[in-house]
């Protein structure tokens, strides 16, 4: 229940305040969202499997976002920004799809 409330609160804050992302941070936002989405889907799957753990979710969420941001930053510094971003998106994308498939199986049993 708390996560759903949190999600609603976050979206509401975003819609009301409409904060602008500083230009320097803009490249990190999409990757951060993908990383966060991975953590959220993992949490959803764990919840449906009955093994959800708040601590694991928070840690995986924070570390996912942080590592994704670090990899984008590192890529920028090495001059291979887009390639590293692509790598991150591929890896996270596979995880997201795998977790979605697991969730689908758990809900629809198919």
């Amino acid at each position: 229940m708390i996560p759903v409330i949190g999600l609603v609160v976050g979206v509401t804050i975003g819609l009301i305040l409409q904060p602008t992302v500083p230009t320097g941070l803009q490249p990190y936002v999409p990757i951060a969202i993908i990383a966060a989405l991975d953590a959220v889907l993992g949490a959803a799957r764990a919840f449906l499997e009955g093994r959800f753990d708040d601590r694991v979710f928070v840690v995986s969420f924070v570390s996912n976002v942080a590592i994704a941001a670090i990899m984008v930053f590192l890529g920028d510094q090495l001059g291979v920004g887009s390639q590293l971003s692509t790598g991150v998106i591929v890896v996270l994308g596979i995880r997201i799809f795998a977790n979605s498939a697991a969730i689908r199986r758990l809900i629809f049993h198919a």
């Binding site: 949190g6 499997e49 979710f57 596979i94």
Partner: protein, 267 residues
């Protein structure tokens, strides 16, 4: 790391890194059994994380939506800018053309044609000329793979030098009039004259006494060289006299000379 239940075996079977990735999509830590109930702070942090996720999503979406018109406005402004600058360039170019005409008129008005001035200008390549002369056509060997069968800048240089030696008054290569600072050289595959590339077959025209030019050239070192090249490498060439050879003036850049005469002649 912890024991995987259920999917544990697939981790060992996974052969590729991608398969492994899909097999371990759920963080291993979820499989650790926790006996103690989650503390309230952890629950709160979960809410905070979810809120952050929602905020990120919303901010990104809003930003993209807000930015789009801005980008379009910027693009339109750039296009407008380009159009204005192009108009400006067109205007300036018209001005340049007008000024160049003015310069030509003023130059024509300022030059006092003394005796010999026109002859000097014709010899220097500054004016278009017409007269009798010869027309020489040179071309690479028909067999492209033949070694040495390709026409080179040296060939053209020797032909032109031979024509000067034979007494040519004016020479043009493929319509490019040669002045005293003209260069015939190769740039990559192409041969350039006055920094403009020429295409084969290269037509070299020279003004002078038709018969003298032709005979002198053919018997001179240049003619003999080209004949030898034709025999050895298959270079094709033909000379014919013509009583109506026309050529344009050399380009302005080939005529401008920074040197000044040391002593002005008193004529």
């Amino acid at each position: 790391m912890s024991e995987r239940s259920g999917t544990g075996s697939s981790v060992q079977e996974a052969e590729s890194i991608l398969e492994r990735l899909a097999a371990t999509a759920l963080d291993d830590d979820y499989y650790v059994v926790h006996d103690d109930p989650p503390r309230p702070t952890a629950k709160l942090l979960t809410g905070v994380a979810a809120a952050v996720f929602g905020l990120l999503l919303t901010v990104a979406a809003v930003q993209t939506r807000v930015d789009r018109p801005a980008t379009e406005v910027e693009r339109d402004a750039l296009i407008e800018n380009i159009r204005l600058r192009q108009d400006l360039v067109d205007n300036r170019q018209e001005t340049v053309v007008g000024l160049q005409e003015e310069i030509a008129d003023l130059q024509a008005a300022s030059v006092v044609d003394g005796p010999g001035t026109l002859a000097l200008r014709a010899a220097a390549g500054a004016v278009p000329v017409v007269g009798g002369g010869v027309e020489l056509t040179v071309e690479s060997s028909s067999n492209e793979d033949r070694p040495g069968g390709r026409l080179t800048d040296t060939d053209l240089q020797l032909v032109v030098n031979g024509l000067w030696l034979a007494g040519a008054e004016a020479v043009a290569v493929d319509g490019h009039r040669l002045a005293s600072t003209s260069a015939i050289r190769s740039a990559g595959e192409a041969i350039t004259v006055n920094y403009r590339s020429v295409t084969e077959p290269v037509v070299i025209t020279a003004i002078g006494d038709e018969d003298v030019l032709q005979n002198q050239w053919e018997q001179g070192p240049s003619g003999r060289y080209l004949a030898a090249r034709a025999e050895a490498d298959g270079i094709r060439f033909a000379v014919r006299g013509s009583d109506d050879v026309e050529m344009a003036a050399a380009p302005e850049a080939r005529l401008s000379i920074s040197a000044e005469p040391l002593r002005r002649s008193t004529s």
